[in-house]
Symmetry: C2
Subunit: 363 residues, 2 copies
Amino acid sequence: MNKHAANGQGTVLAIDAMGGDAGPEAVIDGAAYAVRQGVKARFVFFGDETKLRPLVSAARELAGSEIRHAQNAVAMTDKPMHVLRRGRDTSMWLSIAAVEAGDAQAVVSGGNTGALMAVARKQLGMIEGIDRPAVTALWPTPRGRTVVLDVGANVEADEDLLVQFAIMGEAFFRSLMKVEKPTVGLLNVGAEDLKGHELIRTAARVLREADPDMAFKGFVEGNDISKGTVDVVVTDGFTGNIALKSAEGAARLLGQWMKETLTGTLNAKLGALMMAPGLRKLKDRIDPSSNNGGVFLGVNGVVVKSHGGSDARGVASAIKMAASLAKRPFHEEVTTTVKAVMKRREELSEKLTEDMNVKAAVV
Amino acid sequence: MNKHAANGQGTVLAIDAMGGDAGPEAVIDGAAYAVRQGVKARFVFFGDETKLRPLVSAARELAGSEIRHAQNAVAMTDKPMHVLRRGRDTSMWLSIAAVEAGDAQAVVSGGNTGALMAVARKQLGMIEGIDRPAVTALWPTPRGRTVVLDVGANVEADEDLLVQFAIMGEAFFRSLMKVEKPTVGLLNVGAEDLKGHELIRTAARVLREADPDMAFKGFVEGNDISKGTVDVVVTDGFTGNIALKSAEGAARLLGQWMKETLTGTLNAKLGALMMAPGLRKLKDRIDPSSNNGGVFLGVNGVVVKSHGGSDARGVASAIKMAASLAKRPFHEEVTTTVKAVMKRREELSEKLTEDMNVKAAVV
């Protein structure tokens, strides 16, 4: 991390302009949109120079940006292994390489998730003490936003991995939201200590006893995500992905029914007109664009995955997130915390085993 | 199952009138409401006779109902083991006993889920071939309703249990919705065959190859629940519970924001007035009452769990469900199908192992 980034000046973002289904137009428009929204960063766009040049030149906000030519682009159907072997000339590879080389402090790509994860791990490596990466998602709540992780990188997670996710999620939320002590919960099926999987109970115990600095709130349930009961909801990638997609599905269904209601009759249409400002605000609140951007926590660098189908507004959200994280690096913090917690966890292990034997004897 | 029930006449429902936080009033009102909505059944109410008598007498719709006195009621905090040992005089125990004795074809209770499950298993036993019970939930979709199971009975489920859940879910949906060939999907994190847990992939393969009569559609994702992509969504109780609660949470948040929008300004209020009929319809669609009623599949009898906090409308939904299922018993069907599928699964097992070895050799 260079000095400029550390004092919040001169942030440089590497942008994979060829990732995403919406094409480079949406990416370039998104960068311009981000600047209009106050993001202070210089962009390095990676992709087909002949396509990018006119787009970037046309956007006044992007004066000072750089374009670096990439021969190829990763397709949505490319297998990660294929990209690792033959993808060194792709915009995805080169944009991550820019972070690795220190030319940029963060990278944003709308490309294929599996490939992006593989290339990021390969080039940047993992944070010391983190076994596997996790993908974050932001979810709107009445209190602001909740971060859910993992939402898809790992279908299974053991207790140590859940503890690592909790530590990374906390540091991530602190960086992104400027909240000193984010609250953290483990996703489970009941608030009582006896419910859920054995491994979630163990993870809860480790967090409670081995990470005294964390504002760990114990177990939370599915409905707590939208309530905003805690700032950070920790779970494995299988459960997290299903929780988020189920919530999105419900929100979309309700949105659709709401639309039918607002346009059902002439009276309804007139009524909708009268509440137009409120409806606009409601639309903003539930617009997935404003929560776009999944961060690959655990890799040694800031990698933000933008949704492949994002429009300019969505891309701007992902860029905003990358800029926030580039300015406040949290990797050192994660390394230190994970090391301390895992050391204490070792010390606790013996105690945990003893206690469980006592418990088993009592039952 | 007696002859009367089989030809759709003379259905008798056992109602635990003391379960639920809303008290016996909501339960009795709910039964009356169900009758007004066209449910044709005779009720046997279990509970404190001195409380129930005046309530039942006051409801014209409940003429012909019976009241059976129960000394005690199961509390929400009672442990299942305690109820099994000392709960024989509770309204919950006695109402299930009525099904066991053949006095009723189905039971409805708003009592504590764990106790209800334990008492139902103890008294009614399990359907042959089903290892563990599953709890169903109904979820509204643009196409009608989707059934999700398991939503909480088992935190873990192996491949055979998932197959059993699929068979029970299919038979349940057919009985309840009168759909000849319900479509079935397994909840997973991706539509591609390679994703997800090993055990879900095995379950998918067994369903595809060992149950040729099922309209099995393979994997579905979280957002498919609200889309109504399939009629029956199968998963373990941990994932199902979290998926449903996450979706409920999102729906509640949106409902809250919608309400704020409708009442935010004077104009908005006037606008809301103009679209009142549409809003009423919208409210009905998202009202959880209309989807109340979780069925304990796998026990040898129809046991419907009503949400503890349900009002009369919610109780009526659960009663309607019990009446539909009592008229169209599906336990024989489940027994036969499970037996056939598990036999074919045995035959396939060897083939499966062989194929996997081939696959492993190729990779």
